[in-house]
Symmetry: C2
Subunit: 285 residues, 2 copies
């Protein structure tokens, strides 16, 4: 019997925040307070909770946040105007547009209106390209959290076969590119994949990013695989069937307490990085 390593996201998140607090203190000596602007359109209660949580976490570690609430009936053009103002506001270092926006708004256009320098949530198509080409953009926060867990626990991925299940613009696609840039061999699978369990069987590392509760079964896994579960379904249930996957794996993230808690800390990390970069740019000019 193997004794799998439980990958503790709360510990990872704490170490990130400890590091950030130091950086934030350093910045304050220069009179700079990293600031995240969040935009919430409409009054979806789950989204409202997420945004509040993000903004509270900012304050807890000494950052500022500006919460912008827009009514349900906001048009795409009105939203674009708000984003443009924030792009130009030198006190704002990062911009987060809470997904999803009401369906009458062109969400992609709104995301892509965020200037690359402030796209700390990694949602722009340009940011995706620049992340893939390793040009210093901020990646999406959940993929970044997955990499952070890998690094914290020193998991060896170079040359290994990672199978990503899911291909969304904010999770499956970017995490695939990030694992590839770390020299993993990467397979991207999805709803149209034939014989998915056979594909997963090849994996040294499985990234579950499919958005369906208990989707990945232990019997699909190669003995000793690493399971990184980015799922977060109603009732705090992951995309992997934890019990059966645990038994087959060498290391696994639980849900809750795995990738989830690290995700918000990535948003803060990117905002601090953005504050540092934008301040340096001001000094240079």
């Amino acid at each position: 019997m193997n004794n799998p390593l439980m990958l503790d996201g709360r510990k990872v998140a704490q170490s990130v925040k400890d590091d950030l607090k130091e950086k934030i203190n350093d910045l304050k000596e220069w009179g700079i307070i990293p600031k995240l602007a969040t935009i919430l359109v409409g009054d979806d209660p789950a989204s409202a909770t997420y945004v509040k949580m993000k903004s509270n976490t900012c304050h807890k570690i000494g950052m500022e946040s500006e919460r912008i609430l827009l009514p349900e009936e906001t048009t795409t053009d009105e939203l674009l105007d708000v984003i443009q103002e924030l792009n130009e506001d030198e006190t704002v270092h990062g911009i987060l547009l809470q997904h999803p926006v009401p369906s009458h708004i062109n969400e992609r256009q709104a995301f892509d209106a965020i200037t690359l320098e402030k796209d700390v949530d990694g949602v722009t198509s340009h940011g995706f390209g620049a992340t893939t080409f390793q040009l210093g953009a901020y990646p999406c926060c959940t993929p970044a959290a997955i990499l952070q867990v890998i690094d914290y626990y020193n998991l060896n991925i170079e040359g290994k076969h990672a199978v990503v299940i899911g291909r969304s613009p904010i999770l499956g696609k970017p995490v695939s590119m990030m694992l590839l840039n770390r020299n993993a061999t990467v397979t991207i699978s999805h709803s149209k994949t034939e014989d998915l369990s056979d594909v997963v069987k090849q994996a040294d590392i499985v990234v579950a990013a499919v958005g369906q509760p208990k989707f990945v079964k232990g019997e699909w896994l190669k003995e000793g695989a690493i399971v990184l579960d980015a799922g977060y379904n109603p009732g705090n249930i992951g995309d992997a069937d934890y019990e059966t996957c645990y038994a087959k794996s060498s290391a696994i993230t639980p849900v809750p307490g795995g990738i989830g808690p690290v995700t918000i800390s990535m948003l803060l990390k990117h905002t601090v990085q953005a504050a540092i970069k934008q301040s340096e740019a001001l000094v240079t000019h």
Copy 2:
């Protein structure tokens, strides 16, 4: 014994050009001639030949081209100025910066300075992101050529397992994303991949994009695999060992005469598409 289908790139390219000639004639009735600007920095003879070939092919099908030759000692800033002028020139619909530029130039910065609307060679990081997210950008020409061959021959890729060997920004990465968007399961392998031949053995479709002559061996292939060889090594030699791969495959592109001839026709196709889009934008405003 199987009887593999030889995928004839010259036939594919001809069908693309026939279609383009009609579109170009239509545009001429509106007084619009699609125009590609090519920039060559320095005097590498191979690059000079490529650029000349591209510009000649433009003229042959009734398009215009503007060839800009810059001296070896051109600085990044000077090159950026030239690109900016072309971005603003309404008579230019597409811009191609011939790779590679002299090593003292920041090539990535120069590529990314090309405006998305005129990036007909698909080299910008933004274009890569917008291609991946299917936002109507022009993909890189070799990946586009691979998809064109797939479409011309009606090869079934949905749900199938494609293994791409290589992960360059202009070939391996974009073709992976394009195959994924067509519902293939995609594995991206590379120089750090462990047990590459085992990985290739899983493939229904192999894309050879590694830049090493006769790299992919027939014995690596699953019986009946489709081999798409994007390699073009000195002496007109592909990345696949043609004889042994032919024997195992169900369909295969030769080198020369496979993906290569289709690639230039993709550049022309994107330029014509850009001319149509930019003219429509002018009419609408």
